[in-house]
Symmetry: C2
Subunit: 234 residues, 2 copies
Amino acid sequence: MTAERSAPVPAEDTFPIARSSLAASVADHLRAMIVQGTLPPGTRVQVAALAASLAVSATPVREALIILAEDRLVELLPNRGARVLPYTADEALALFEVMAALEALAARLATMRMHAEDCDELERRHAAMVAHHRRRERQAYFAVNNEIHAAVLTLSGNPDLVATHARLELRGRRGRYNAIVDDARWDQAMHEHALLMEAMRCRDAEAAASIWQTHVTNTGLAVAHALHRALDPA
Amino acid sequence: MTAERSAPVPAEDTFPIARSSLAASVADHLRAMIVQGTLPPGTRVQVAALAASLAVSATPVREALIILAEDRLVELLPNRGARVLPYTADEALALFEVMAALEALAARLATMRMHAEDCDELERRHAAMVAHHRRRERQAYFAVNNEIHAAVLTLSGNPDLVATHARLELRGRRGRYNAIVDDARWDQAMHEHALLMEAMRCRDAEAAASIWQTHVTNTGLAVAHALHRALDPA
DNA sequence: TTTTCAAATAGTGCATACAAAATTGATTAT
DNA sequence: ATAATCAATTTTGTATGCACTATTTGAAAA
């Protein structure tokens, strides 16, 4: 009890991302709606209406829109409010081109810097993913897949790399909800994951970077393809 | 004429980044102060005081701080305002590690995608930079150097790559104002630039990527070194 | 019927006001 | 003397109000 209050500035160096402001909550809410597609591209977001529906005032909604504009999920038009930005196949290609470079760097650094127990943990998750793939458990597969990608990023030991990737991944994820991954691509992705694990096990950083770059690029191609088919019924 | 008015949403695809809001202006002002070091790391930014000194109200200042927090130039502490984030040698290394990967990708793509006249334009700027280096014109050199780096980014044809890099470069620039580049490093940098031009002239994308990665990494090492010496008088 | 223009309408952007939270300083107890 | 407690002050976070800008509507003129 006393300990909690006596420390004058205990959290000076800590990094409590517990952004508990209303604006942050509204931003999270809107972000989820955009990523899931509840707010389709082109939708104009009006502050007053949104504020009313969330039972808050205009100020935190405005601030939330500023945050989303920084993430390039919405566009702020001067004196004309905000609208949800489109997400086309071309944009997905550009996005994954950058993400591939970032994840390749992450794979290289992780392979060089990770400890043995980190690699074991990765192997464990990989095994779990293989099991989900064998049983065709799509949801569980996606979850573990995301964990593995995130783990490689984290093991790079570079916070800016993690943060930069996270921002792009948010937009990249907009496609994955729509993208129906076909079985052929799924099998190929599994193979690429297996190659990464092998490279990391052997501490072959360059091989890990190369295969991971290819893997993310291929994912981008699949997403772009799905986005293209979503608009073009062919 | 009819066409202009009959279309319900004529400016649908335009992208007028003419962000002429007060918040944006305040953000630019603060950004410059932080990058130049006028607001040193650790400085606590108080909304009311800043608003008074800029003769605006609290609202746009708050919004500007949100923008800068997204750029990781300031940290928003819940109910405790904002403070300018520190910039250490370690952070510079992490930052330039990511920027090196991004600029390497840009060099690869630019080499593959640029037109002949783009390459000529680059050569022209490179020649200008060589001249400034020969005459030891530091300011002019820096300006043209930045132009070349920006041009390579732009020639990649990937807007997300440009935007992602720009965000990091902003923080990276914090160091360059302090960093006193010694002549040895300056000469080396010039050599690296020459190698890039040669690789791009020959359309050797992989070589361009490799040398540019090295170049940016070396710049990062120089900046980190300068930051280290700034704190440690050795 | 089509075009032009003005008035009305709607909606953003900024300023101000207020409430909640944190910091500070003084006072009291140990 | 040190530590704890509580009130006063400062500062943030949210709400509200208002002016200005963009858009739409409708009537008048071509």
